[in-house]
């Protein structure tokens, strides 16, 4: 499959009153056409900032992209002007936000907000655009779409609003959808509906999806490949199966062990000691070092993202070719008991 989007050496800083923080630190990844990619991490790990940088909607200032290039097919998004970006946003890449109540305009009807997509990108007349908006609502399984066109966001439930967001995101058949915690504000039965909807769009129209979430279950149910981020860096990336069954970074392993399984009997929860680093004082060397049960002397130096298998990379000294534990780690005997 050809590469659809490529992010190269992306670094983003935020200038705050307390100082400058490096929110995204030299991030590299790509996503193929038709692929679903998950980005996992805890709050402040830089996953949303990465998504916003791709969309070109980082609030600048305080944010600043200090380095990096982002390519969509052959177009370099980072070199485009705001006006050119507007032609791409919504048409080729669109985004679904966490909270549909704040992402939708409360004083415009649902119909007008979706129709705007068609008027902007396909230069349709108002009436034609509304007709397409009705179809868009239908395609995300909203009952009585015609009546909904006249309604305002506050008249819909949380799940319905998220469907409206998805209808808007899909309106112009984009090549890529970035969903930033799309189900975090929703109940579990509604979450299942939304994930099901995203999966069917991916399978039926081949839309690529980047799903950002802290929920390893949601990621497992939709994504083929997964990136784990910690303190602004990618610390592990792999095919979903490998990542969940053969995690090769102590943080990934800790994360997997700290969520209980709904399908298994009570086992002990292994918690990761300490707390995510303060971005103002990220540890030099491995950023996970201070919390890592395997930390060694060499972890004071920054490890590189090392290949350890097909499409499997980990940023850990344990996986270094010179490490005595590399074989044990690769076979899954080190982290998994």
């Amino acid at each position: 499959m050809p590469v659809l989007l490529e992010v190269r050496d992306l670094s983003v800083t935020f200038h705050t009153y307390a100082g400058t923080v490096l929110a995204v630190n030299n991030v590299n990844f790509s996503i193929n056409q038709g692929e679903t990619l998950g980005i996992v991490g805890e709050s402040g790990c830089g996953k949303s900032a990465t998504a916003q940088a791709i969309m070109g909607i980082l609030p600048q200032p305080p944010a600043e992209v200090i380095n990096g290039h982002i390519y969509l097919n052959t177009t370099e998004l980072t070199a485009l002007s705001e006006k050119e970006l507007q032609q791409i946003r919504g048409k080729k890449i669109s985004m679904i936000f966490q909270d549909p109540m704040t992402a939708l305009n409360p004083v415009l009807t649902i119909g007008l907000q979706i129709a705007e997509m068609f008027m902007q990108h396909q230069h349709l007349a108002h009436q034609d655009a509304l007709r397409l908006a009705e179809k868009a609502l239908q395609s995300v399984d909203i009952p009585a779409p015609k009546a909904r066109l006249e309604q305002y966001p506050h008249q819909l439930s949380g799940g319905m609003r998220q469907r409206v967001m998805i209808a808007m995101a899909l309106a112009c058949q984009p090549q890529l959808i970035i969903a930033d915690e799309p189900t975090t504000a929703l109940d579990v039965t509604i979450q299942a509906q939304i994930i099901d909807l995203l999966r069917s769009k991916n399978q039926n129209s081949g839309t690529s999806i980047i799903l950002i979430s802290h929920d390893l279950g949601v990621i497992a149910s939709l994504c083929q490949r997964v990136l784990i981020m910690y303190a602004g860096e990618i610390i592990e990336s792999a095919q979903a199966i490998d990542l969940y069954h053969k995690p090769a970074h102590p943080y990934t392993y800790g994360l997997l062990q700290s969520v209980p399984r709904p399908d298994r009997k009570n086992q002990g929860l292994l918690s990761i000691a300490g707390q995510p680093p303060n971005l103002f004082s990220i540890p030099s060397g491995c950023s996970f070092g201070p919390r890592c049960p395997y930390a060694m002397e060499i972890c004071r130096q920054k490890p590189a993202l090392l290949p350890i298998g097909e499409q499997h990379f980990t940023r850990c000294w344990l996986a270094h070719p010179g490490s005595p534990n590399r074989q044990k780690l690769l076979q899954g005997g080190l982290l998994i008991k």
Binding site: E42, S43, P143, S157, G158, G159, M160, D187, V188, T189, I190, Q191, A192, Q193, I195, D196, H214, D215, L216, G217, V218, I219, A220, S221, C223, A240, I241, Y244, H245, G254, L255, L256, Q257, S258, V259, P260, R261, P262, D263, K265, N266, L269, L270, S271, I272, A273, Q275, P276
Partner: protein, 325 residues
């Protein structure tokens, strides 16, 4: 089994939204609709349900923060809300403490951690002077915080540390029952496990009983001895944890369990979900009969007319459904 520590008997809570000009209720929400259950000493009773099902209202009514509209809450056989028990109620209420969802909103930003933990000790006159200071530092130690945290303010602590302070505050008065209302949902994944492990450790050390309310069904399975499922103000199923998760009887419980994503792509790839149609109905205008009938796969004509009672289908397994009888 021994006597329950807490019994909830046909408890109802109605919130009046508007009144007519004569003072009658023009619109009201039945947040809890005749709920009954018992909690036994030393167990963790899990209560799950989706937004707006009334689980937090139930917690607050039990804790005495709301007056019930109807029904009783009995703590060790004493009715907490009865006027004749008023002189006793402060003693009983001390034995029921609460941990809140949002560690940012439930700590006073203008008080130091020491003062926050000290307040319940002074109100209930449990300790004085040196003894009090020793108690505060031992409480901090018990929840895994350094004594130096006493001089900090809440904004100087992370979310997980604040939740620990909330736990220390609840422990200060030596309670027997702690109501945990979504204690981990505001925390990061790696911190959630820390707080859950702390709660479990404290339970073993101090012999506490928990009422654990959450929407995270995986965590509820992990921590609970028995679990009750709530839908639109009523209990629909109540069973020992392993039985509820392996053999759910109510169609809503079945759908709820099938909706939880499992953190394993190999399993997820072959899973058949029961997708519920539509949204949770508004509690302002709940469906007639069984409140779940309009989303139920097995709905029958009787479900629209008669609301099923919570009945024992097996020893300790209760279900409110016309199908299971």
């Amino acid at each position: 089994m021994n006597n329950p520590i807490l019994s909830v008997d046909h408890l109802s809570k109605i919130f009046v939204l508007h009144r007519t000009f004569l003072g009658g209720a023009a619109a009201s929400v039945k947040a809890i609709d005749s709920v009954s259950f018992s909690i036994f000493p030393g167990e963790t009773f899990g209560l799950v349900g989706e937004t707006g099902c009334g689980k937090s209202t139930l917690a607050r009514t039990i804790a005495g923060l709301y007056q019930p509209t109807d029904g009783k809450v009995l703590f060790k056989g004493h009715n907490l809300h009865a006027p004749q028990e008023k002189h006793n109620s402060i003693v009983f209420k001390r034995q029921i403490q609460m941990i809140f969802q949002d560690p940012y909103a439930s700590l006073n930003p203008r008080m130091t951690i020491r003062d926050i933990i000290e307040e319940p000790l002074s109100i209930h006159k449990l300790a004085k002077g040196k003894e009090k200071e020793a108690r505060i530092s031992s409480l901090l130690h018990q929840v895994g915080l350094n004594a130096e945290y006493g001089s900090r303010f809440p904004h100087e602590c992370s979310g997980g540390q604040r939740q620990r302070v909330g736990i220390a505050r609840a422990l200060a008065v030596n309670p027997e029952l702690i109501i945990c209302d979504e204690p981990i949902s505001a925390l990061d994944v790696s911190i959630q496990a820390q707080v859950i492990n702390l709660l479990e450790q404290l339970q073993t050390e101090l012999g506490l009983t928990y009422l654990f309310i959450a929407h995270d069904l995986s965590m509820v399975r992990h921590i609970s001895t028995r679990v009750a499922v709530m839908y639109l103000g009523s209990l629909v199923e109540l069973a020992p944890t392993e039985e509820l998760y392996s053999q759910p009887l109510h169609p809503y419980t079945q759908a709820l369990l099938s909706a939880i994503p499992i953190p394993d792509p190999a399993i997820e790839a072959h899973r058949n979900r029961i997708l519920l149609p539509g949204d949770i109905p508004s509690p302002l205008d709940p469906p007639s009969g069984c409140k779940f009938h309009n989303r139920c796969r097995y709905a029958m004509p009787i479900c629209q007319k008669i609301s099923p009672e919570l009945t024992a289908t097996d020893l300790n397994h209760y279900t409110a459904c016309h199908l299971v009888k």
